[in-house]
């Protein structure tokens, strides 16, 4: 999902930075508040953030004959919301921009918007919609992580299509072309990521159910039911 340094006109770099910066500032503020309220939240942040570090470094082959990486942002979006997740993503993306030539400083804003803001925001919306329903919590985690991953790549396609509309068919036709590269490659990766992170969530539920209940991530009844049957 990295847009490479130099491949986005500077006007668009500025636009995406302007969108990303307030979100990051809000995320830092929220992060401070969470930490002040509950020190036990720090280990949970370590686990969810750790998975973003691990998963976003794995470039996996896909059915389209090219490679792409999962994002791992779903768990953090569920536990801490999309804005705190943006801050973690910004750290990972900055590391990759500085040392790996994946993305770059000028396109960092655009990459933060796709991986750190839109993806987690979509995931968080799904979590809020399913949270108080009878849907199994592991199914919720699966849907949130898989779709947060997918929409990261849809956003990258959108960002590129806006900057590079096709001569014939304009924005829509180049959006479809970028989707064919980024989103189609991502489908199997997103499904596997969703299943793996649902499994990870099972272990969090087994080891530390009280933190999930105290932070009101899921209700006590849902957590107890999940511990009983899975």
């Amino acid at each position: 999902m990295h847009i490479m340094e130099g491949f986005l006109p500077w006007q668009w770099c500025v636009v995406w930075w302007l969108i990303a910066l307030p979100c990051l500032a809000f995320g830092v503020w929220q992060l401070k508040k969470v930490m002040e309220k509950d020190r036990e939240a720090l280990p949970l942040l370590g686990v969810t953030g750790g998975f973003i570090f691990i998963l976003s470094s794995l470039k996996l082959p896909s059915v389209t004959g090219s490679c792409s990486h999962p994002t791992g942002t779903g768990l953090s979006a569920i536990c801490f919301g999309p804005w705190v997740t943006s801050v973690i993503c910004a750290i990972v993306l900055l590391f990759q921009a500085l040392f790996l030539a994946h993305g770059g400083l000028s396109v960092l804003g655009a990459n933060i918007v796709s991986m750190g803001i839109v993806g987690p925001l979509v995931g968080y919306t799904i979590y809020r919609l399913l949270k108080d329903t009878s849907v199994n919590i592991y199914l919720t985690v699966f849907l949130v992580t898989a779709l947060a991953d997918m929409f990261t790549y849809v956003t990258t396609s959108l960002e590129l299509a806006l900057a590079y509309p096709a001569e014939v068919g304009g924005f829509a036709s180049s959006f479809v072309m970028f989707l064919a590269i980024f989103a189609v490659t991502q489908v199997p990766l997103a499904i596997v990521e969703g299943i793996v992170l649902a499994l990870v969530f099972k272990y969090i539920v087994a080891l530390k159910p009280d933190i999930l209940i105290r932070m009101k991530i899921f209700s006590e009844k849902q957590i107890n039911a999940a511990r009983g049957d899975a």
Binding site: H2, E5, F53, G65, S68, L105
Partner: protein, 106 residues
């Protein structure tokens, strides 16, 4: 049993199917180079804008890993860092829950 470990079994099956798909595509598909989709995307940008890929130069100068070895080293470092966080916290939680059991029994 199957119910209790449903997610574990599903994860193993998903990973196996994923590997199977990879082996299938890599042996049947012609022209599958398994390059990064980032690079494929950059190729399309070049095609759409009618410029060559080489003509896109960084707006802000950046460090590039001199070889694939160094790049994979840095990626491994990133994953290791994440692994330390995850493993450390799971161990911490496990220890916490053990301690609770011990104090309850005293």
């Amino acid at each position: 049993m199957a119910q209790k470990y449903f997610l574990e079994i599903l994860a193993v099956v998903a990973v196996l199917v994923f590997c199977g798909l990879f082996l299938y595509t890599s042996s049947t598909m012609t022209g599958a180079e398994f390059a990064g989709s980032d690079n494929v995307g950059s190729g399309l940008i070049a095609q759409l804008s009618g410029k060559s890929v080489e003509s896109f130069t960084p707006l802000i100068p950046q460090y590039e890993p001199p070889s694939g070895e160094i790049e994979s080293c840095l990626f491994a470092l990133q994953a290791a860092l994440g692994g330390i966080f995850v493993g450390g916290v799971f161990g911490f939680w496990l220890g916490q829950s053990r301690r609770e059991i011990v104090t309850e029994n005293m």
